[in-house]
């Protein structure tokens, strides 16, 4: 039975009582309720009778005792906090933090225009944080087993991510689970019955989810799915498991997007993806479909999204965000088609290698650009931001957004101290030293190529 409004349930490990306030929603495994207890307002997922099994109870208890992965990556998981039971029932649930649904959105709400569409910068952040959190989960020895858009919520403005329904998380290649994911996200080898879910099959699901985020389409929904009038289980097994072909597979045209209005958005959005992102998707859904060891790892996704976020520039004519290609070729604006001027960039020399950040008004320099993020932080704190000069039209500078002064050296060799809140002009050759790391402003080196 569902919980009744006003009913009292018990958080087993803490021994506290929870008061059911109202139903918040309903999922495939159970209902979610707003409850009030000693910790204030929280949420309870209450399993349906057929889902409230002994195995699920043990799984929840295990997760409560283990806790989420460490640090910022772990805090994005809405992790089970306690087992919740009621009187006169064998049903149970688990306690979790309440999600701010005004702030966080589901992908479906973006598609249906209920919430604002994230810009490229936010999309990079969402994708980075997703990869970062699943990396932390996998490194902790667990697999998620049900990665899908249904378990993701994000702030479309800032790109902050929450990962819900963590009750199916289990020990990689050891524990069993009741939910084996949604078929459209399942790795082909699971659908063919060759293996159980694992961190390796999670990588396929993660790639599908990222593709949905960027292209708003399933990577295998092309001619093959279109031709199936009866979209039943055998048809799904064929498309997702037995003969999967990527819709943008450069070497196999068998499953291209049909010329139907349904596919126009996918075609358009694929075009917005920078070529190095397209390349990773192609690998994930060509080699990675057939050889799990060739799948794109969370670390590769993380590096890519961090890098392409640093290559976002605003079109000077219409302000639309554009990705500068890795080669430095800016091309033309995807929205107004104006030719984009090559921007100056900031080269950061780190012990782990050199990175380049395209500089245009609004570009942010984050802590992770200059230092290895501490384990409990994802390095997203802004330390510098490109701002226009208050008096000189067309001139810009990097404002010191930290609490400590920066030491800078101009091309002529003179030095200066830039206090917090003040800006360094984008003068090519100028170097900024932050925490011992040298950042050099570089003039646009490539001619404007449409």
């Amino acid at each position: 039975m569902p919980l009744a409004i006003g009913q009292r349930v018990k958080a087993e490990l803490s021994g506290t009582e929870l008061h059911v306030i109202r139903k918040l929603g309903e999922g495939t495994q159970g209902e979610v309720y707003l409850v009030e207890g000693t910790q204030g307002y929280q949420a309870v997922k209450w399993y349906k009778p057929e889902q409230a099994t002994k195995e699920q109870r043990s799984a929840v208890l295990y997760l409560v005792r283990t806790g989420p992965p460490f640090g910022a990556a772990g805090r994005r998981f809405i992790w089970p906090l306690d087992l919740v039971t009621g009187q006169d029932t064998t049903q149970f649930g688990y306690l979790m933090t309440r999600i701010e649904t005004q702030k966080f959105s589901e992908l479906g709400e973006i598609w249906a225009h209920i919430k604002p569409v994230p810009n490229f910068s936010a999309l990079c952040e969402i994708s980075y944080q997703l990869a970062n959190s699943y990396r932390a989960l996998h490194l902790s020895g667990h697999c998620y087993r049900d990665i899908s858009a249904g378990n993701l919520m994000f702030d479309p403005v800032t790109g902050d991510v929450l990962i819900c329904d963590n009750d199916n998380v289990g020990v990689n290649r050891q524990s069993r689970c009741q939910v084996w994911g949604t078929m459209e996200y399942m790795a082909p080898e699971i659908i063919r019955g060759e293996t159980d879910p694992s961190t390796q099959t999670d990588l396929h699901s993660l790639a599908v989810l990222l593709f949905y985020l960027w292209v708003w389409h399933h990577p295998l929904h092309g001619e093959m799915e279109y031709r199936f009038h009866c979209w039943d289980i055998p048809a799904k097994k064929k498309v997702y498991g037995e003969s999967p072909v990527f819709v943008f597979d450069p070497g196999n045209p068998a499953n291209r997007l049909p010329p139907d209005p349904d596919y126009a958005i996918a075609r358009e959005r694929w075009g917005y993806c920078p070529s190095d992102l397209q390349d990773l998707f192609i690998r994930a859904f060509t080699d990675g479909l057939h050889d799990p060891s060739r799948r794109v790892t969370e670390g590769e996704w993380q590096s890519l999204f961090s890098a392409i976020k640093d290559r976002i520039i605003a079109c000077p004519k219409c302000r639309a965000e554009n990705f500068l290609e890795a080669s430095g070729r800016p091309g033309s604006c995807w929205y107004c088609h104006a030719i984009l001027p090559a921007p100056p960039s900031l080269i950061v020399k780190r012990p782990s290698g050199e990175i380049s950040i395209a500089l245009s008004n609004g570009t942010t320099i984050r802590r992770r650009h200059v230092s290895l993020a501490p384990a409990n932080d994802d390095g997203s704190a802004i330390i510098g931001i490109v701002v226009p000069h208050p008096a000189i039209s067309g001139a810009s500078g990097i404002r010191n957004a930290t609490q400590t002064p920066w030491r800078i050296e101009f091309p002529g060799g003179s030095t200066a101290i830039v206090s917090p809140g003040r800006a360094v002009p984008l003068n090519p050759g100028t170097t900024i030293t932050i925490d011992g790391v040298v950042l050099t402003i570089i003039a646009p080196t490539t001619p404007v190529i449409p």
């Binding site: 569902p2 409004i5 139903k23 309903e26 495939t28 495994q29 209902e31 349906k48 057929e50 889902q51 479906g108 598609w111 249906a112 225009h113 209920i114 919430k115 899908s148 249904g150 939910v179 949604t182 078929m183 459209e184 708003w216 929904h221 009866c230 979209w231 039943d232 289980i233 139907d260 209005p261 349904d262 126009a264 958005i265």
Partner: protein, 304 residues
């Protein structure tokens, strides 16, 4: 295309009963325009499991959407066909929680495609030659569709209109919140290029049943709807009247009520579908006895 029937009902003893009513709006009558709403009610079996499927649609009506009356009729037909077909294909092959997640994943894409196929067939049958614009735009319509089967209620909606479930204790569940980012009378449409992305879906437990009410926007626009407001009061009063006076009485009065609301308030076409859902008695499909009914045998099917 005939006017939608003023009144229609259907019943399945294990699930409950449904009725629908559609009226031409007062402003449409004044302008000699037909009713551009449509509704459909189906009671029968899907995969040998009893089900009730309902759909309502509101054709857009302006000159750009000159075939929207037909578009709305095709939409409700597509809604019922897709829901029953979706259920039939999965009921014996996937567990209930997967059926629900597949509904969310597949229904928007498949229903949009099915409606487009029906529109293309209609275009071909009318020999409408080479329309300059997108042919689907001419047939533009909203659609709300729901299937009540076994322990589950599946709901899909594109565009405006309302669907609410009044539980036996009087609680009103609004499984699909209203569109909030559109201006004025603007609405999402089956004819939109990205229609398959604009759907909102919900799955509910049948639980202890209740009354599911779907209405085109002409009905809710007749009320002050600040935070649900008067429309919810109307919905509750409708449920109470059925309890107090019986279905025949309410059904007999519905046309008059809708005409009056249209006359005094929105002026728009008015369509409402009302499904009284029995409590789920946990009859598992596997325990059903007897031969499977012939799925080709006519159920009680009506679509406009």
């Amino acid at each position: 295309m005939p006017e939608p029937r003023q009144f229609l009902s259907a019943c399945d003893p294990s699930l409950g009963w449904a009725f629908g009513c559609s009226r031409t709006g007062a402003s449409h009558i004044r302008l000699s325009r037909p009713c551009e709403d449509a509704y459909a009610i189906y009671s029968g079996a899907s995969g040998a499991i009893p089900c009730i499927a309902v759909a309502i649609a509101d054709g857009h009506g302006d000159p750009r959407h000159d075939m929207s009356r037909t578009g709305a009729s095709l939409a409700v037909q597509a809604g019922v066909d897709e829901l029953t077909g979706f259920h039939r294909m999965r009921v014996h092959t996937v567990p209930p929680h997967i059926l629900r997640s597949e509904f969310k994943a597949d229904f928007p894409r498949r229903i949009t495609r099915r409606w487009r196929e029906y529109v293309q067939a209609d275009v071909a049958s009318r020999e409408i030659a080479g329309p300059e614009s997108d042919p689907f735009v001419r047939y533009g319509s909203t659609l709300i569709s729901a299937l009540i089967v076994a322990d589950t209620i599946l709901i899909g909606q594109i565009g405006d209109g309302d669907i609410v479930l009044v539980r036996p204790d009087g609680t009103i569940e609004s499984p699909i919140p209203p569109e909030t980012r559109l201006v004025g009378k603007e609405t999402h449409s089956l004819s939109s290029r990205d229609a398959h992305l604009l759907w909102r879906t919900a799955t509910l437990d049948r639980g202890n049943g209740g009354v599911l009410i779907a209405a085109t926007d002409g009905v809710s626009d007749s009320f002050d709807n600040t935070e649900g407001g008067e429309f919810f009061t109307f919905v509750k009063s409708l449920v109470d009247r059925v309890k107090d006076f019986g279905i025949e009485s309410v059904a007999g009065s519905m046309a008059g009520w809708l005409d009056r609301y249209s006359e005094l308030a929105s002026g728009d076409d008015m369509t409402i579908v009302f499904v009284s859902i029995n409590p789920d008695e946990n009859i598992h499909p596997a325990t059903l006895q007897g031969p499977e009914p012939d799925e080709k045998a006519p159920g009680l099917t009506e679509c406009w």
